[in-house]
Every structure is written in structure tokens, then in C-alpha cells.
Subunit: 288 residues, 2 copies
Amino acid sequence: MAAGGAEATGEPLAIICGGGSLPLVVADRAAASGRRVLLFPLRGFGDPENFAGRDCTWVHLGQLAVFLRATRAAGCRDVVWIGSLVRPSLWQIRPDVRMLLKLPRLTAALRGGDDHLLSSMARLFEQQGFRVLGAHEVAPEILVPEGPFGGRRPSDKDDADIAMGLAYLRATSAFDAGQAVVVAGKHILAVEAAEGTDHMLGRVGEMRANGRLRAPAGTGVLVKAPKQGQDRRFDLPSIGPQTVEGAVRAGLAGIAVVAGGSVIAEPERLVAAADRAGIFVTGVTAEP
Amino acid sequence: MAAGGAEATGEPLAIICGGGSLPLVVADRAAASGRRVLLFPLRGFGDPENFAGRDCTWVHLGQLAVFLRATRAAGCRDVVWIGSLVRPSLWQIRPDVRMLLKLPRLTAALRGGDDHLLSSMARLFEQQGFRVLGAHEVAPEILVPEGPFGGRRPSDKDDADIAMGLAYLRATSAFDAGQAVVVAGKHILAVEAAEGTDHMLGRVGEMRANGRLRAPAGTGVLVKAPKQGQDRRFDLPSIGPQTVEGAVRAGLAGIAVVAGGSVIAEPERLVAAADRAGIFVTGVTAEP
């Protein structure tokens, strides 16, 4: 059955789904608000198990013709891109002829950072008559609120690490690179770039295990922030239960993400995992 | 036989040796200039094979008393710290009582970044009557010269990646974190922090192997630069043959390091390895 069901009445919404559970969370929220939802999981990113039993159209990144046919048949003009996709996917686009015709500057777009590519893609969709929305516009509940989520709060030392992490991400924002950093004792332990947050956390865990870092377990913070001037329709930093698991394996004290500028998948599971592990997860304000 | 030999006439020089071949290269250059050299390889960093057959005193990082006894007996007042040591070692100092008495603020020093710790250590040595020198002051030949080393030169695209890498390192310099970054197609692929350059290069190779990066092999540049305002007596970025091997495994086009602000161990072996692999290694000017 299609998400949204037969009784959906609002204007249909197309969701292009990357990895993780966030696309389905948003799909279900949109459906609950009465919209018919068309799911387009991306091959290589969407997890087939997540889409079992759902009406959906699997597409390769770049298969514009398939997408246009399905959405036009449904009278759908709104489209959302959601899910972990961006950083690894830059080099994985397999443009069809239609897309190449529409986006002759694709190669140039690919040469820049993530935002550059996504802006080009958004323009392409807009030229086709679509309205490109942010996931948080469709499902505002997914935006991270201010303050701690679970039972733990950051200590003063954690606050100092958070401030340093936010400052670092602000300083590198213009480079359109990573959106996450691990800081412990005001020492920058790891910086995310193309590898993504989960791999970066894995590296911190390894450095702890092999003695390269001697900072005691239970110290350090994962800090995530959106890029400044980022088009917030795309790729807002997101956290979910697996981020908590990664932070725990990395021996961190907690996670800080920018409130109103980050999204959270499955907040209940995330809070349960954080409380069980005794780490904090908190929404913070990034200074301008 | 001690490096420097019996005929050494200049003032003796103590070298505290981290990993890699650079400490021995500097020791041999200093000895060739007529100085007696006292080697203090650090346990856990110095490679025992490198020191086989050399007169040296193995010490733990923090064993100040042993060092003071040996240098005073030799009438030695000049000391140099050399070799890969800094980033992993921050948490590995085992201070003896003497050091704790001399450096009551050790814990505070450990809490900051690398420069902070090294400045504290230098102050400590200076309080004990030592002159703390940079490796390049003792052996100026190790400083990276301007321009390409081997047969290859960076292309215009490589130059654009180098410029971006230098700009990134400049923007993050104040954070006292890493000194290296990998850039390909103006996209920042990896940023070094506590893991060190070799591990960062390994990560780029893994991302290429597992398809996370689709940039063609033979693209991308490793860019290394000293921190701005860095005390150049310590931890200048260094490259050696193993850096070339890492860059080759990472599928890069080449390596760019700041001329006059980086040091090179075994230039002949490095050039041979780079030419064999067909990658460039070049000394560049960092804009102010």
C-alpha cells in the first residue's frame, strides 16, 4: 500500500529517499497529515528492508526520466530529498540522457562541494516545474529542539568542547566540506570530510582502542552543525540511534547538534539509547 | 659508536627522537658538522632497529631526570626534538617526580592542543638552562625547497586543489589541530586531526576502494602546511618516502608541502619513490 493510503487528500508529495530511517519517518508524517506520498528510494542508498511492503519506485541517482513520468502521472509538484546520501553520492550519479540534456553543466556541478551540486539539482527540478522543499518543511517535528533530550546534560568541560567544535565548523563552513567534528579536552580529535560521521566516530573508537588517544573514556563530544549559508532544504545534519551507538563506541561523553538546524530520526529510540549508555544529546545554539 | 664520533669538536647536541628516520638524518648531519650528538630515543616512538649499534639512551616521554643527568654529564646545553611524536604522544607522557615538580601545570598543558603542550615543554627545558632548537636550525638541509622535487609537476587542476588545501589549513590553523588535508576536484576528501597523515591517507585509499569516492585514481593532492604562528622549533610538517607510499595507495596525483615550513627525511629515496609511482612532490608558497 502506498504511504498515505487511499484516503489521502492533500497535494501529493514525492520523496527521494537516501539511506537511514529519516525518509520513512518524514513519509509517515506527511501521510498522517493527509498527503499522498510517492517514494523514490535511491539504489545503493535506500535500505531495501525499509521499503518492503511499501509502494515505491526504485531509481538510480540521475534517472530523471523515470521520476518525471511517475510524478506527472500522479499530478505531483512537490519534491523532498531526504536521507544520508550526499557526501558519498557525489560520484555515484548515473545521469540518463534526459538529465544530461537538462543539466549540461552537471560535470561542473560535480566538481564543487556538496552544496554546489545540490543547488544545481534543485534548479533542475525547479526548471521542471517542481517545488523543492526541505524535509523539515514537510515534517517540522524532525527539527532538533534546544536543550538536552535525555536525562544527561553536558558538563562545563563538555560545553567548552562544544563551543570549540562549533567554532571549528564555523571556520571551515565556507569550504563546503564536513559538518561534524569530535573535540575532547579542547583538543580536536577528528574532523569529518568525505567519510561521513559514522566512519569518523569509528576512527575515534579505534584511536582509543589502540592507545593513540589516552583521553579517558567518557570524554569528548561529537559536534554537528549545518554549514553557514547552507540551503536548508538539503542535507541538514541529522542524528539518529546509530549516531548514539557510534558516539558510545567512540567513548564520548555526548552529542551536540545545532537546534533548529539539524534533524533527528526516531527521537524516542535515540533518547532511550542515550539514557541507557549514560551519554548526553543536546540541541545547542550556534553563535552567528 | 656515538653519532659524531670521538673527533667531534663542537658543542654537544641532545636529540630527543620520535619516530621515523628524520632524527637520525639530523643526527648524522649534526655529527658531520663536528658536533657530538647524544641520542634520546623515546620508548614507544623511536624504532629500535634505527638505533641498533648507536650509542643512545632510551627514555620514556616525561623521564626528565634521566635526560638531565646524561646531558649535564656531557656538558650539553642544546636540545632538539625531532620525529613523529606529537599528535599521538599527548596522552602518553609518563612524568617522573622531577618533571611533575618542574611542571606543575602539566595537566593544563595536556588539555590544550599540540602547540600548547610543546611550548610548555620548551619552557621547562629552558628553565633548566637548555637552548631548545628546531631541527632545521641544526640541519637546514632538511627544509623543503620551493618547486617540484622529481620529474612530475602539478597540473592546473592540482594547483587549484593545492590552493584550496592551503586555504583550509589557514582557516583552521588557530585550532591547533591537524596540518594536512586531501583535496580532489576542489572537494575536501579528508582532514587530518589526531589520527596523523598516514592514517588519513589510508582512509582516502579505503574510500576509493569501497566506492565511497568515485574520483578517478590519480586525482587529488595531499597538502601539508605548518600552523600559522607555530613555534617552528617543533613539529614542522614532515614528509618522507612513506608519505609517498601512502599518497600512492590513496590514489593521489601528488603531494604539496609548504617550502621553508616543512621538513623532508631522505629526499633521494622520496624522489625515487615519487618518480617510480609517477606522482609529483612539490614545495609551495603559502600565502600569508
